[in-house]
Symmetry: C2
Subunit: 261 residues, 2 copies
């Protein structure tokens, strides 16, 4: 009990330090949904933490923050303070190189974690931008680290989340390094579909939140090529496309696109 109180105290101390305009608590809203009853918990940071520890662990969510479409939750070069769990919405992360070229490094949705790239250097190396109105859970990293020392299951899951990002990146490297254009787009669609399913959305019917240019950047293709491939896939009865709306007609065939070189 003493220990628990000490932790709470520390939390408030940290919160005072951490407080900023951008991340201030949204009043009582904070407690409407806690990690305990969040349906995205398993993919998110507190995943795998057992119920008895969860009460303590959910204190790492220091605030919720709403972001509108087009806004960023952090930008390259910003001081690293927190990682963000996506409560709702859709994001892209990207890097800008010296010549101003944008490289989209990923698309992220509910339950996934943003901002881990800042952990090494003390600054975020990329930016995270909302592609639709969204809400994120702000998890000050000093709290995460502190709690991870005390709750092994949280520590393990933090490591798993970091490793998952590394594995994901390696997958993208494989995609960019050794796949042809059609395979890249098919992979992209299949991957999106799987992630939507897991969140209870339709596997075959969804709305793309990103532009052809953003898809192209992510896949190492030009936007015209992406557009042509969508048309091609439609002609081949693999999908139906209408602007940002996609319906997958033949997921097996789409997966076959990957299978035969």
């Amino acid at each position: 009990m003493t220990a628990a109180l000490a932790i709470v105290k520390t939390d408030y101390h940290r919160k005072a330090i951490f407080m900023s305009q951008a991340d201030k608590p949204a009043g009582a809203r904070k407690f409407e949904v806690t990690c305990s009853n969040c349906n995205l918990r398993e993919t998110c940071l507190p995943g795998g933490v057992r119920t008895s520890d969860l009460e303590r662990v959910e204190n790492i969510v220091y605030a919720r923050r709403r972001v509108r479409r087009g806004e960023s939750i952090f930008a390259a070069g910003d001081e690293f303070r927190a990682v963000y769990g996506i409560r709702s919405g859709f994001f892209k992360t990207s890097l800008i190189d010296d010549e101003g070229r944008e490289q989209v490094t990923g698309f992220f949705m509910g339950g996934e974690i943003l901002g881990m790239d800042g952990l090494g250097s003390g600054r975020y190396t990329g930016s995270a931008i909302a592609l639709e109105d969204s809400e994120v859970c702000v998890m000050p990293f000093s709290l995460v680290e502190e709690m991870a020392r005390e709750v092994p299951s949280l520590q393990r899951h933090l490591h798993a989340v970091l490793a998952r990002e590394i594995v994901r990146d390696h997958g993208v490297m494989m995609l960019l390094g050794s796949m042809r254009a059609e395979e890249r787009l098919a992979t992209f669609l299949v991957n999106l579909s799987r992630r939507f399913v897991r969140r209870g959305y339709s596997a075959s019917d969804f709305h793309l939140r990103m532009t052809r240019e953003e898809i192209g950047s992510y896949l190492g293709l030009k936007l015209e090529t992406v557009s042509r491939l969508f048309s091609q896939f439609q002609k081949d009865h693999l999908i139906e496309v209408n602007q940002k709306h996609v319906r997958i007609l033949d997921i097996d065939a789409l997966e076959q696109v990957l299978a035969h070189k």
Copy 2:
């Protein structure tokens, strides 16, 4: 003192469990060089751990392991038990996809850490293969996690190492997604050069441990293209190449290759 003893005891317990043919301690050799007097400490896992804690932390190096050129320290699918700090030598990491295509995901040298991709799933997702006779420090991950809970500076550095890998991967994504062939190879050479310098080797004169095919796989190019680019760079007096030996003649010009699209 009691605490210290308890840890030591735990270490031995873990070691007994962890013991395997592949990773068994190489007798007394283990203690020739410890983390304290290892010149690669700063890049490696114990980096940033202060001297007073170092004595405890160096117990995470449970053994040294020699690997000959061509041998792997772990392969995709192997059970994840440890991460490996490179004591000496040179490695590639790679993935094999369903069609048997290899994608080289990175090249690694002294002080760098291998195996972190296994952390999430309990199995390594890629393989690490020595490109020359090498030696690695075996760090059982259960020990690393345990110690990270007790030594905050180790915890922080572990996170930094994981994040560094993520940032590195994002850099490769940018390279693969938005650079032309010459830019890719120039980036690769400049990057190698910088890493050699930091380890006390020549910035301009080095031996490539990998084949043209491996470079090509890493850079998303065919081996013939890599070969042609080497010849091209030589013709332009940027480098001198003779098979695996490279001498950089004009590092500034090489960096310029990146600058102008």
